[in-house]
């Protein structure tokens, strides 16, 4: 149930970012000044944690989506659902740690 709620929340959040991303990218058509000024948003210190959350949300949505497809196309997997869930959760954390280091390391002064 929690997995499903998170799937919806991350899905809507990523879609809202996609809308903003399309508008931001369309500033390319107005020339270098307009585009670079728009991208200032990404350079704000407060934006960095949100950008990391975006990547974390996409990766969660992708991982949980793989899980849904495993259960869809291989019904026998329901018997080992718990084990697949924990393997997936472990893989998610293992991937997110280096991503957090690379994306937030500079912000918190680690690199």
């Amino acid at each position: 149930m929690l997995a499903w709620v998170l799937h919806r929340i991350t899905g809507v959040a990523v879609l809202l970012f996609l809308f903003a991303h399309i508008v931001e990218t369309s500033m390319l058509g107005l020339g270098p000044d307009a585009y670079n000024r728009t991208l200032e948003l990404y350079r704000q210190p407060w934006f960095k944690p949100l950008e990391f959350l975006l990547v974390a949300a996409v990766l969660y949505h992708a991982g949980n989506g793989i899980m849904v497809m495993i259960l869809d196309f291989w019904p026998a997997a329901t018997r080992v659902y718990r084990r697949i869930f924990w393997i997936g959760a472990g893989a998610y954390v293992l991937v997110l740690l280096p991503v957090a280091y690379l994306m937030l390391g500079k912000v918190v002064g680690l690199r």
């Binding site: 270098p32 992708a62 259960l71």
Partner: protein, 129 residues
């Protein structure tokens, strides 16, 4: 289990719901590589601190990255809009409001698709950038 996990995860019997059910999975598999690659290149390896007009001008010089981004645009936007349509179905119970919400969803979706595609197909960069 998948039925208990999520009512919508049950495969529909047929018709448009079944087509959309397959499309959500097809676009998901396509995006696994496309979007993870995009995030890795544009958000993890390259800091967004160094992305600017110049960077995109280099990137969009040839057709490869334009086509790559167009594929993501089509898959991500359609996948997201169909997903949001499912959420509207669940929470908007009055039939009239649901139809109105869905029409609004497709108008907004078409506008964003048009704007995104317009940029990818037409944006030109001044010489020297």
């Amino acid at each position: 289990m998948s039925a208990r996990w999520h009512p919508r995860a049950v495969r529909p019997a047929g018709g448009l719901p079944l087509v959309l059910w397959f499309y959500m999975r097809l676009s998901a598999v396509a995006m696994l590589g496309l979007v993870v690659g995009h995030l890795y290149i544009m958000h993890v390896v390259t800091s967004t601190d160094v992305i600017d007009f110049q960077f995109v001008a280099q990137r969009f010089r040839g057709p490869f990255w334009r086509a790559y981004d167009l594929l993501i645009l089509v898959f991500a936007l359609s996948h997201g809009l169909i997903g949001l349509r499912g959420i509207l179905d669940d929470y908007v119970h009055h039939r009239g409001w649901r139809v109105a919400a869905e029409i609004a969803l497709w108008i907004v979706g078409a506008a964003f698709a048009g704007l995104g595609a317009l940029v990818l197909f037409t944006v030109q960069f001044p010489p020297g950038t």
